[in-house]
Amino acid sequence: MLEVADLHAYYAKSHVLHGVNLRVDAGEIVCLLGRNGVGRSTTAKAVMGLVTGRGSVRFKGREILGRKAYEIAHCGVGYVPENRDVFAGLTVRQNLMLGVKDPKAFARGETRWSIDDMYRLFPRLKERDGTAAGVLSGGEQQMLTLCRTLMGDPDLIMIDEPTEGLAPKIVELVGQFLQEVSRRGISILLIEQKLAIALDISQRLYLMGHGHIVFEGTPADLKNNEAVRKEWLEV
């Protein structure tokens, strides 16, 4: 589905990514772990075309590096940023509608998700249908950004720290939601700092340090490798 090879990226003159290699297969949940500032978010942004990168990013066999963000989105890549970028002045429903990329296909019911699907998964959003997104709680905003990206009917979604700052109960809800999304055949690249849900829901994980991948394996591999956890993850 997604193959990233030797990806480099720069912010002005600072070299942030030093040759990242990773891959996400169809229907897989893959976790990209690492401490703050090691380049996890930059990796996602470079794949999305929001940061200029060098190297190769192939999606469904096609090279997408260097294309515009909206073109990459139309190829089927979805991105949920870490800062819960809801459109504060618009209502919950308007936010969801803005996630739709192809209004004609959506109107004909050809997309995988409808607004009702979202409301069934997150009844809280249904109650807030006409409310301005800016006044929602942090957890609700997180659900909204997830749902908004899904409305665009992506085949892969990259989610940046969806559990950051949420209560344990909501974190559990997000985990269940991601598994439900995955069951519908959507690949997920989950970016996390803590092991919170990563070990439970992902099939494979990558650990990042200083702009490149330092460990790759299954959740069990990481559990058994205390040295790697100590060096690259735990504080």
């Binding site: 515009k68 909206y70 989105a73 459109f87 504060a88 803005l98 990329k101 908004r148 665009g152």
Partner: protein
């Protein structure tokens, strides 16, 4: 009567400032050439009305101006954007001069004879022995119509929602699959078309001459700063406010001495400044208002930005 005149002028200012403030909040560009598009609207309308009459010009001139605006964004500003905000500012600054020179070349340095059409010339009604011209009523009608259309477009249509979202988070909107560069071009074209429309209906109410862009340009910036950069509602309130301040103050013949006398302070006789009348001060009142706003509420009446 002054009130009506003030509102008419204010609505015209809003037509100009709404485009400027939309462009600013979406693209971060303070378009110094915005009033030049207003001037282009007036000259295009003059030229078209000379050939075919006023009514085709009312429709065609703003569309032409909008098309010029969209081309400028697509082939000029988008290139300048790569070199940062300073380059963009310089670009719009240069564009303002360029437009003025083109106007000099094509239509000459003196005012052109762009007149109110005969069917709109006359008195609509009289109030307290003052006449309210039909054309002012027509200006109000066009402005209010445009205001309602803009509101409906921004709140009721998909493209309007995308614009609203892109005002604050263009990067996120693009990641959701919307062609933001094209939206930018449309907003720039739409904003300049509004300025063009203001030129069409303002050019014959006032004067159509090469200095008209500079004359109105600074006032439009005052409106946008007072209203709060990036706020349509703020631009509306500030437009009406400044429209009214300017027309009321022109009608007031009391002097500064009188004003101070009203609050019980006697100013020394014989001072030049104290004898100035409010009418003489009228042109600087909007700027005083701007300074007051910048001192007491730097983000403007309705602005959300800190800078």
């Amino acid at each position: 009567m002054s009130m009506l005149n003030g509102i008419t002028y204010g609505l015209l200012l809003f037509m100009l400032s709404s485009g400027l403030t939309l462009i600013f909040s979406m693209m971060g560009i303070l378009n110094f050439a915005h009033a030049s598009f207003y001037m282009l609207g007036a000259y295009f309308a003059y030229q078209i009305s000379a050939w075919t009459g006023f009514w085709p010009g009312l429709l065609v001139a703003p569309l032409l101006v909008g098309a010029v605006g969209a081309l400028v964004e697509r082939h000029g500003l988008r290139r300048a954007h790569r070199f940062g905000h300073v380059a963009e500012l310089l670009f719009t600054f240069g564009l303002a001069f360029l437009v003025e020179e083109v106007v000099h070349l094509v239509w000459g340095k003196v005012a052109v004879d762009y007149r109110i059409p005969l069917e709109l010339d006359g008195t609509l009604f009289s109030l307290f022995e003052t006449d309210f011209p039909i054309y002012k009523g027509f200006m109000m009608l066009v402005s209010v119509g445009m205001l309602l259309a803009l509101y409906a477009l921004l709140t009721r249509t998909r493209i309007g929602l995308i614009i609203q979202a892109a005002l604050t988070k263009p990067e996120m909107v693009e990641a959701l699959g919307h062609n933001v560069p094209r939206i930018f071009m449309l907003v720039f074209g739409g904003g300049t078309a509004l300025a063009g429309l203001a030129g069409v209906i303002g050019g014959n109410a006032f004067v159509t001459e090469p200095g008209m862009a500079a004359a109105v340009g600074s006032i439009v910036f005052v409106v946008v700063v007072v209203g709060g950069l990036g706020s349509l509602a703020g631009a509306f309130i500030a437009s009406i406010l400044i429209g009214c301040i300017q027309t009321f103050s022109v009608a007031l013949s009391i002097s500064i001495t009188d004003v101070f006398a009203l609050v019980g302070i006697a100013l020394p006789q014989g001072s030049q400044v104290a004898r100035l009348t409010i009418t003489q001060l009228a042109p600087i009142l909007p700027y005083l208002l701007m300074v007051a706003i910048l001192v007491f509420r730097p983000r403007g009446l309705m602005g959300s930005r800190e800078s």
